[in-house]
Amino acid sequence: MSDGSSGAEAQSLTFVVDEREFGVDILRVQEIRTWSPPMPIPWAPAWVKGVINLRGDIVPLVDVRERLGLAPRTPGEFTGVVVVRNRRAEGERVVGLIVDAMSDVVSIPDDVVKPAPDVGGAHDRSSRGIAVLHDKLVTLLDVDALLEGLGVDR
């Protein structure tokens, strides 16, 4: 966390979903929690798992797996929640992202981020790009695009 000042790289919190690595801008992460069963919201889409009590605030949980169109899975012992700040026109809101497991905090230089090729997936728009690191690929997620439409009455 020491040299975020170089400007040419950004830090990402990475996590695992469906055996692949994803990352979100660490500046958007408020905290990390273990999963606990949420209160389901009536008539919410399947990727919205419900709400939890976060120190007195009502915070919705979004399953990243199902949001990305991947097969659902019951929460296990490593299931975690990344609490992020979602910016939108109406103001900032706090949302929990359910992930299979936490991974790491990595510094990603701008020049290793490649634009994501279009593969016609369910939520391409939420990918900011692919970071090509020496040992792995990390899909960088745009938190705001990922959470677009959350809480909109259908």
Binding site: P38, M39, P40, I41, P42, W43, A44, G50, V51, I52, N53, G56, D57, I58, V59, P60, R93, V94, V95, L150, G151, V152, D153
Partner: protein
């Protein structure tokens, strides 16, 4: 605090105080208009005077200008202990509307409409102040010849001489002043207009200016100058001022309330200290357990007192809303050419600030409705053996955790025949139906339902009784109507004291706990098989002499039912009772309403979330929305 934040705070205080002051001034003016004591003028003067002062220091010249113009008139009235006449009263009320529009501009950080301010000020200045000694006046225009000063004539002395003759106002025209560089003390570039009281003789005025060769003219001012043709900007101001229910971000609290709160916090600290003494590693024996229990019960009491205290901070008296009504009644009665007396009681009843803010529109609509539809014209009233002037009463009182607001008139009452005809026309009733008065009464809350013969200016605003009803329902309240033909109509609003904490019934559905507001529950029953009948996909339950639709709650919430619900919570849906089958009835408790919209959005049938004693989240159901979604509304008729 940064300079910007300080400025922001000053501005919001300025806006709040100014709006309050205008409200006070308006109310006092209206009381004077209905013949109350002339002493009210002091209130009006003080309010406008301090508005002028604070507008000046906040850098709001437009507001200050209008306030100044008003102040001059008020000062005159105050000095002479005189009532304003109808014309002056009207212009002053319009100026107050205009000032509100200007303040709205300031609040919205829009550029203040200076042209509007100028025309308002001009209009107020021009209006004839009225009163006995002033049938008309003189206008003396004086443009001094350039050599005036070198001839040793002092314009100031002339002005003083005019002022000695009688009440005089002077306006200086500075438009001919040259640039600073070309300024010379030897030439007079200023011209003046003297408005002199009509009681002053023409000869006396002419004598003053006898020494001045030319450059002045004297004319008689007609009394009708008051009706200057500047109606359009004022009308615009009035229109702009009408809908805006400005959102005030601040609240003013009497110091004793804060002191009370401090005391409670003091108690809490003592309790905490007492409990803290027990917090060592010693064993919990009987004596310590007793002290612990005592401490916990103290803590519960402190918490409860603190909760009440904080809730009371959010309480504001209903007078905030009631204060608008005299003006409304005054204006609407004049427009409808009806005579109306307004009686208000219970203005000091307190309600949560949010409830008060959202109550304004429904309440003014109900009052307007009474005037428009309820009360008859004086001739019609006289023919029915009533006093020519109608009576509208607005009263409020608190009972338990609810506040009641009643709007009643002594007019013609609901015309059930007309409602029935209209309902048949619109297909709201089956042909040949003979519904009860209760059912007909409910129809007036249907969207787009109006029995008004013609769409008047008043009822053509697109706000109907349906909006009134839904506003009140959103606040967790309800409206009931009673009407006696020929004797009047009475609307009774039932409102919760607070939106922040509600009494709830906890129920279990689909393996989760949900909260149903106690206010919307009629009763809970365990129906026997003999009380139930199938009807299509649904069920009907016989409850005493009534058949009510009943549905399992689980599917309405998109949840699987754990087991066939055997307990029924009978709730007041949209006007009709509906039975909701739940899996289990849990306890009743007060719950703190938390916003679901902050981090998520609005959910149909849910009015908010809450956190239960065990830390888990539960949803507070909004029964009207639920039953509407299930298509269970309005079926009982």
């Amino acid at each position: 605090m940064s300079a910007a934040a300080l400025q922001e705070r000053l501005l919001s205080t300025f806006l709040e105080e100014s709006r309050e002051g205008l409200g006070r001034a308006e109310a006092a003016l209206l009381r004077m208009g209905t013949g109350a004591g002339v002493d009210e003028i002091d209130d009006v003067f003080r309010a406008i005077h301090s508005l002028k002062g604070s507008a000046g220091s906040m850098g709001q010249p437009g507001v200050a200008q209008v306030a100044h113009a008003l102040e001059s008139h008020l000062d005159g009235l105050r000095r002479d202990r005189r009532q304003p006449d109808k014309g002056l009263l009207k212009v002053m009320l319009q100026a107050i509307d205009g000032l509100r529009a200007l303040l709205d501009d300031v609040a919205a950080k829009r550029p203040v409409d200076l042209a509007l301010a100028a025309s308002l000020a001009q209009r107020v200045e021009r209006v004839d102040a009225g009163g006995p000694p002033q049938p008309a006046g003189w206008v003396l225009r004086f443009t001094p010849p350039e050599d005036l000063l070198s001839r040793g004539l002092d314009p100031l002395r002339l002005a003083r001489a005019v002022a000695e003759l009688g009440p005089t106002r002077v306006r200086a025209d500075l438009s001919r002043l040259p640039d600073f560089e070309s300024w010379t003390g030897a030439v007079s570039m200023v011209s003046w207009e003297f408005f002199v009281d009509g009681s002053v003789g023409q000869k006396n005025l002419e004598d003053v200016f006898d020494w001045v060769d030319g450059g002045w003219s004297l004319e008689r001012k007609a009394a009708s100058d008051a009706a200057a043709p500047t109606a359009s900007p004022v009308a615009r101001a009035a229109a702009a001022a009408a809908p805006a229910a400005p959102e005030t971000a601040t609240i003013r609290i009497p110091i004793p309330r804060i002191d009370q709160l401090m005391n409670m916090v003091g108690e809490l600290v003592i309790t905490q200290a007492m409990l803290g003494e027990l917090d060592d590693d010693g064993p919990i024996d009987a004596a310590r357990a007793a002290r612990l229990r005592e401490g916990l019960s103290l803590l519960a009491r402190n918490t409860h007192a603190l909760q009440d205290g904080v809730m009371r901070l959010r309480s504001v008296p209903l007078s905030v809303v009631f204060g608008r009504l005299p003006r409304l009644v005054h204006d609407v009665a004049a427009q409808l050419k009806k005579e109306v007396q307004l009686a208000m009681t219970g203005e000091t009843t307190e309600l949560d600030k949010t409830v008060i803010e959202r109550l304004g529109d429904p309440l003014t609509h109900l009052v307007r409705n009474c005037l428009d539809h309820g009360l008859e014209h004086p001739a019609e009233r006289a023919a029915a053996g009533k006093t020519p002037s109608g009576m509208v009463s607005v009263s409020a009182w608190q009972k338990g955790g609810e506040v009641f607001v009643e709007v009643a008139d002594d007019g013609r009452g609901l015309d059930y025949d007309k409602i029935r005809r209209k309902a048949l026309e619109r297909g709201l009733l089956p042909v040949g139906a003979a519904p009860s008065p209760e059912v007909l009464t409910r129809l007036i809350f249907e969207p787009g339902f109006s029995t008004a013969e013609a769409v008047t200016d008043l009822s053509g605003r697109g706000v109907g009784m349906d909006v009134v009803m839904s506003n009140v329902k959103q606040l967790g309240g309800d409206i009931s109507v009673t009407s006696t033909p020929g004797q009047g109509t009475r609307f009774l609003l039932r409102l919760p004291v607070s939106l922040a904490i509600i009494d709830g019934q906890l129920v279990r559905v689909g393996g989760h706990t949900w909260v149903i507001p106690l206010l919307s529950i009629l009763e809970t029953v365990q129906p026997e098989a003999s009380q139930l009948a199938r009807m299509g996909a649904g069920q009907v339950m016989r409850l005493r002499d009534q058949l009510i639709p009943s549905v399992p709650l689980a599917p309405l919430l998109g949840m699987p039912a754990e087991r066939p619900g055997s307990l029924m919570v009978v709730v007041e849906g949209d006007g009709t009772p509906v039975g909701l089958l739940v899996d289990e009835l849990l306890g009743q408790q007060q719950v703190v309403v938390k916003s679901l919209e902050t981090n998520y959005g609005s959910v149909r049938g849910v009015q908010g979330a809450t956190i239960l004693g065990d830390g888990s989240v539960s949803f507070i159901l909004e029964v009207g929305g639920l039953t509407r979604a299930a298509g269970l509304s309005q079926e009982a008729a």
